[in-house]
């Protein structure tokens, strides 16, 4: 199939950026979207033009590096699919496809389609962990974990940290990302001692980074490539509020 691409080009964080139109021919339906961009980049290189910069690494939907808005939808039209796993069989000959970076204030554009997502690492630094220094662990079977809790933790732990939730949210909120970590660790017995303080610390950092508040619109969960459920945000907020409650001594 032959396609027309309109791609966001921006030299660096000082450039204003613009959409530039390219055509790609003889695209196979078995190619992934990123492989189609590879083909474009080979063409551009041979013609002496600058290839389009975009992030990708594992190309199997789990590292969270890829981050494209396709036709206005973070990760493109297929549900539960990161853009590296989006294949061209979902497009048709003659399509015009818009390709843009994540857009949110806390994600400054580095170049073209590449953005800086280090704000998400700083949210984890604020409290997205269980304090368990190496060597201090009891036997793995010392604490039983009911299967339901383990499953609930897992459903949140699958978050790949891609930031699509932020790109999709009209408020630019990272509450789905933050809630996923709070819900993952807070659902396990090992995570209980720090549960409330963890949530509060992460929310505080989230706000300090300039992410917007959550108004339960649900765009985040709709684009999430791994199906992190919206209710993780409820747990985050509930745990965060618990941190404000006076504790018995």
């Amino acid at each position: 199939m032959n396609l027309t691409l309109r791609i966001w080009r921006q030299k660096d964080d000082r450039d204003t950026g613009r959409m530039v139109t390219y055509s790609v021919e003889q695209v196979s339906p078995d190619m992934s979207f990123l492989e189609m961009l590879d083909v474009l980049n080979e063409q551009l290189t041979l013609s002496g033009d600058e290839p389009v910069a975009f992030d990708s690494d594992c190309r199997e939907g789990v590292c969270g590096a890829c981050s494209l808005v396709i036709n206005g939808i973070a990760h493109g039209p297929e549900a539960l699919t990161a853009v590296c796993q989006l294949h061209m069989r979902h497009f048709s000959d003659g399509d015009v496809i818009d390709v843009e970076p994540w857009r949110a204030d806390p994600f400054p554009i580095v170049k073209d389609l590449v953005v800086d997502r280090s704000a998400m690492d700083r949210i984890i630094q604020a409290g997205g962990y269980i304090t368990a220094p190496t060597g201090a662990a009891p036997d793995a079977h010392a604490t039983l974990v009911p299967k339901a809790n383990a499953d609930r933790a897992f459903d949140a732990a699958v978050c790949i940290g891609c930031g699509a939730c932020v790109a999709a949210c009209p408020n630019g909120s990272a509450m789905l990302f933050t809630g996923a970590k709070a819900s993952h660790l807070g659902s396990l017995p090992q995570g209980q001692p720090e549960r409330d303080s963890r949530a509060m610390a992460m929310i505080t950092q989230h706000d300090a980074e300039g992410f917007g508040g959550c108004t339960q619109i649900g765009e985040c969960a709709a684009v999430c490539p791994v199906g992190v459920p919206l209710h993780v945000i409820s747990q985050l907020k509930s745990d965060g509020l618990s941190a404000l409650r006076p504790k018995r001594t």
Partner: protein, 647 residues
């Protein structure tokens, strides 16, 4: 062949303690010097790579009180390719009461590696395996559990016990996030500084010791130098030399190769693992291959139609007209034979014209029986994400149509040579995880990579590096202003300018694809003296063309992904040649290294223990000079070397 390499003095692991195998790790830790906690703040360690080995090492060193600098080329340490490991992690917990023990995990690993790994290292790996699971559970890794709340286990290829802990089909992701969170906790505590989008491009060696790294800031192009008391490479394997592999796009050998050029020996480079169960290649523009976890072989049966070119839909082919060839060839292990054995069997079936799918390069991996027996819900819970991934890539529904699989490059057992302390032949340069060579011999067992990465990072390196740091702190005043740091940075700038100046006619990827094709054909699943000799010539020719005709667009002072790839491919050329020389010199077959000239009557790998029971550690002798082979003889005190059989 003599012109291809020279032989140097034999090599000996001087740091391995003597005495009974079971007591060696205790003995080494007791003999090792310690660093007083108050003195650790004055000592700094650079860790390159943030996968399981690197993140766990950096976090643990930070917890211990050292000052740590951690580098990764990705935009976040959480994206290192350990994240993509699917199946699980082994540990000798014997929670199944099925006869497992440290001794059995040790033996399975030595045997699985076809008796080409070191007893001391492997025994230690088995010893610390249990503590890894404890550590990960404490961090909140959501391993699969049974209804009673206890941990679940599955079995994996090459073994007959269930010792594999798993988190659905995303075990690597969950373990890496555990290590990443521990790392970020140390960032907040101020002990670790993480440099993302920074790629190590050279090692700084001062007075014979590794004292730092030169890195490129991938956003600005700035070449920076960082000096420390010791350097740890956790930069992963080199499978991407084949272009198509299950590695991430950015995985590369540059950190290891640059260290090699400074004197670190590179061991067993030809030992690469071709994984049997990957999604077959679909076209020329394919950029990577995707694994379907080996755990699927627990419940899946591998088969092809008996009749070549059978065009019927797989479900319409009756049982009697199917060949479950692994079950036929290896009745006692069946579909769970080791990866090397399974891969070769699949290749041999397809070479015989019995393959299925496009180009007849594929075989069926069929879970129909398991779905009937356990129900779709149970299978979905176990493998749901893998099935989803398969459907996304192929457009076929594996609940209805058997998956098609074909072998692909997955892991590299070879790597920088290290001693028992995980120290390379450059003092102060430690190598952990897939980047070293030490534990898997000529073939790695499934679910053992995660075990080794975390064993090295959490438990081994933090102990052994202390011994070095206690006795070899850098001299007062040695910092980034040292002339050697300046020289290294300048040489790096020159190399980058040289790449940019070529301005030829071919893209970096076109060279990389051609290089990968040469290796896949001639240094892949089956190797011959003739093919390897040709490959060496082809690689050299292509490398010369690369330096005269590659086109690298843009400039250094910006985010330039073409330039990044060009530097990596340039190093892959040099590695590729060494891999072929290593494969050519080792005229025996062992594990994943199958020399067609050395096979048993029924086509299995035939070892030559008399002549090849050694680690081949290669030294760099300068550009244009043949590499120097140094042999470390492998001694087996506790196991008897046998012809591996999974029949």
């Amino acid at each position: 062949m003599s012109a291809l390499y020279t032989e140097g003095a034999p090599l000996h692991d001087a740091s391995a303690p003597a005495g009974p195998l079971k007591e060696r790790w205790d003995a080494r830790r007791f003999d090792a010097k310690l660093v007083n906690p108050v003195n650790r703040r004055a000592l700094s360690v650079i860790v390159v790579g943030t996968g399981l080995a690197g993140a766990s090492a950096a976090a643990t060193l930070g917890e211990g009180g050292y000052r740590v600098k951690s580098f990764c080329y990705q935009d976040s340490p959480r994206r290192a390719h350990s994240i993509a490991a699917q199946g699980g992690i082994n540990a000798a917990k014997n929670y199944r009461n099925d006869g497992d023990s440290v001794q059995r995990l040790f033996y399975d690993t030595i045997k699985g590696g076809d008796f080409r790994s070191r007893e001391s290292n492997v025994y230690r790996l088995a010893q610390v395996s249990s503590a890894i699971i404890d550590q990960c559970v404490a961090q909140g890794v959501p391993f699969a559990r049974e209804y009673g709340g206890l941990l679940d286990n599955r079995s994996f290829g090459g073994v007959q016990v269930s010792r594999t802990f798993y988190a659905r089909g995303q075990t690597g992701q969950q373990l890496l996030l555990g290590a990443y969170q521990a790392l970020e906790r140390q960032v907040a505590a101020g002990t670790v500084e993480v440099f993302t989008r920074h790629e190590m491009l050279d090692l700084i060696v001062i007075d014979g010791k590794a004292r730092g790294v030169a890195v490129r800031d991938m956003v600005t192009g700035d070449i920076e130098t960082h000096v420390a008391d010791a350097v740890v490479l956790a930069s992963g394997g080199y499978g991407n030399v084949f272009y198509l592999s299950t590695n991430a796009m950015g995985c590369n050998v540059t950190a290891s190769w640059r260290a090699h050029r400074h004197g670190a020996l590179f061991a067993n480079p030809c030992f690469t693992q071709i994984h049997p169960t990957c999604i077959p290649v679909s076209g020329d523009s394919q950029s990577k291959l995707t694994l379907m976890s080996e755990s699927l072989r627990n419940d899946g049966r591998i088969w092809v139609p008996v009749a070549p070119g059978d065009e019927r839909a797989p479900r319409d082919i009756p049982e009697a007209e199917r060949d479950y060839f692994l079950e036929r060839l290896y009745p006692s292990y069946g579909n769970l034979v080791t990866r090397d054995v399974a891969s070769r069997a699949v290749k041999s079936i397809c070479d015989g014209g019995l393959g299925v799918g496009p180009g007849a390069r594929g075989v069926y991996l069929d879970l129909t029986d398991a779905i009937t027996r356990f129900g779709k819900v149970a299978i979905e819970a176990k493998y749901g994400n893998l099935f989803d991934m398969y459907r996304q890539i192929t457009g076929e529904n594996p609940y209805e149509v058997p998956m098609r699989i074909y072998p692909a490059v997955h892991y590299t057992m070879g790597g920088l040579w290290v001693d028992y302390d995980l120290q390379s032949t450059i003092p102060g340069l430690f190598v952990v995880g897939e980047a070293n060579f030490s534990d898997h011999g000529a073939n790695r067992l499934g679910a053992s990579a995660l075990m080794q990465g975390l064993a090295d990072g959490y438990f081994v390196l933090p102990n052994t590096i202390a011994n070095y740091l206690a006795t070899n702190p850098r001299p007062a005043g040695m910092d980034e202003s040292h002339p050697e740091a300046t020289r290294t940075a300048n040489a790096l700038r020159d190399r980058i300018q040289a790449l940019l100046a070529i301005n030829g006619q071919r893209t970096v990827d076109s060279f990389h694809k051609e290089l990968g094709h040469i290796l896949w054909e001639k240094c892949g699943m089956e190797r011959t003296a003739e093919g390897l000799t040709e490959a060496i010539e082809q690689v050299r020719k292509l490398r010369t063309e690369f330096w005269g005709n590659v086109k690298v667009t843009g400039e250094n002072e910006e985010l330039n992904q073409t330039l990044e790839r060009a530097g990596r491919v340039a190093d892959f050329f040099e590695l590729a040649e060494l891999m072929c020389i290593d494969a050519l010199h080792r005229t025996e077959s062992c594990g994943g290294h199958f020399r067609a000239e050395s096979q048993t009557d029924d086509g299995e790998a035939l070892r030559d223990d008399e002549n090849f029971a050694y680690v081949a550690a290669w030294g760099f002798a300068g550009d244009g000079n043949p590499p120097v082979l140094r042999k470390e003889r492998l001694e087996f005190d506790s196991v008897t070397m046998t012809q591996r059989s999974y029949k």
